[in-house]
Symmetry: C2
Subunit: 193 residues, 2 copies
Amino acid sequence: MKNRIVAISRQFGSGGHTIGLELAKKLDIPFYDQDIIEKIAVETGYAEEYISEKGEYLTNGGWLYNITTRSRFESNPQDRIWEVTEKVIRELAAKGPCVIVGRCADYILKDDHKLLTVYIHADDEKRSERVIRRSGSTKVPIEKRLRDKDKMRSSFYQFYTDRTWGNANNYTISLDSGALGIDKCVEIIASLY
Amino acid sequence: MKNRIVAISRQFGSGGHTIGLELAKKLDIPFYDQDIIEKIAVETGYAEEYISEKGEYLTNGGWLYNITTRSRFESNPQDRIWEVTEKVIRELAAKGPCVIVGRCADYILKDDHKLLTVYIHADDEKRSERVIRRSGSTKVPIEKRLRDKDKMRSSFYQFYTDRTWGNANNYTISLDSGALGIDKCVEIIASLY
């Protein structure tokens, strides 16, 4: 059976997680984010922190590993996490309508369900404010943190889906949460569901 | 004075023109599309058909001309149209709130006004239906017509703005008019104005 799923992709610090959470409350359907990581952890035996890092970000090591060993039969940890992510997301989506944030769910579920795909972004200033408010400053300048995360998410998405991350043509709707505000984004997406 | 301007970019056949027109009616503000071409025609002396072709589409000839003669002082016809387009769009925007479709208005006005930037897209099937309904079939297969127009608009935008056309991060909102329908798109954009 095809379920109505909202798959949200988001730039780091754009508030996409909060939008997904608020949207799920408003629509009264499950919200999956941390649950996905926990399920992948159980299945792969990897630590949750490791999965958070490797499950959406293409890291240099992973990428090198991929181009040097991809032709062999063994899979690297990042590939293994990807395989399990696909399985977990398909199982969750099969249960019923839900909101899923990140993890290329828009791509994984594209042929199986009635998808509403969303991309949330914001300018660097708004994202910097949000990230610092949420997790404080670090030694690494905030501009570099944003750039690094964007680059790794974008590379991860490109690598596993063969699509360009943030290409408006791939989403039902894309919203600038910095210009519009979190509440307005939730309201608009809910009105489309 | 900063005016509230809606600048709509759109894929060929996505209904962006109709959305702009309906939106302007709903908001009771001017809609500029053909007017821009007429003004450019008066200023440059080129025929309106020529401006329609050269004012949004980077054609092979124009592109070659650009890379071979750009270092000289003379400007080619496409560059001349671009210069006048910038001027005309700035003048129209300075008059008051309005809706402008295409012609890189999102880029031209980015520093001067309070912009709501919109990107409208749809899948090939919906766009094909729309184009054939509007202008009939031609000898050239519809898939090729869509691909050619997209490529030329995208190259034009990239060439004159140094931005990637259809990159969600550049727009306040991007909408799939095929999935959502024209009326819903108008309603959402109007609610953000």
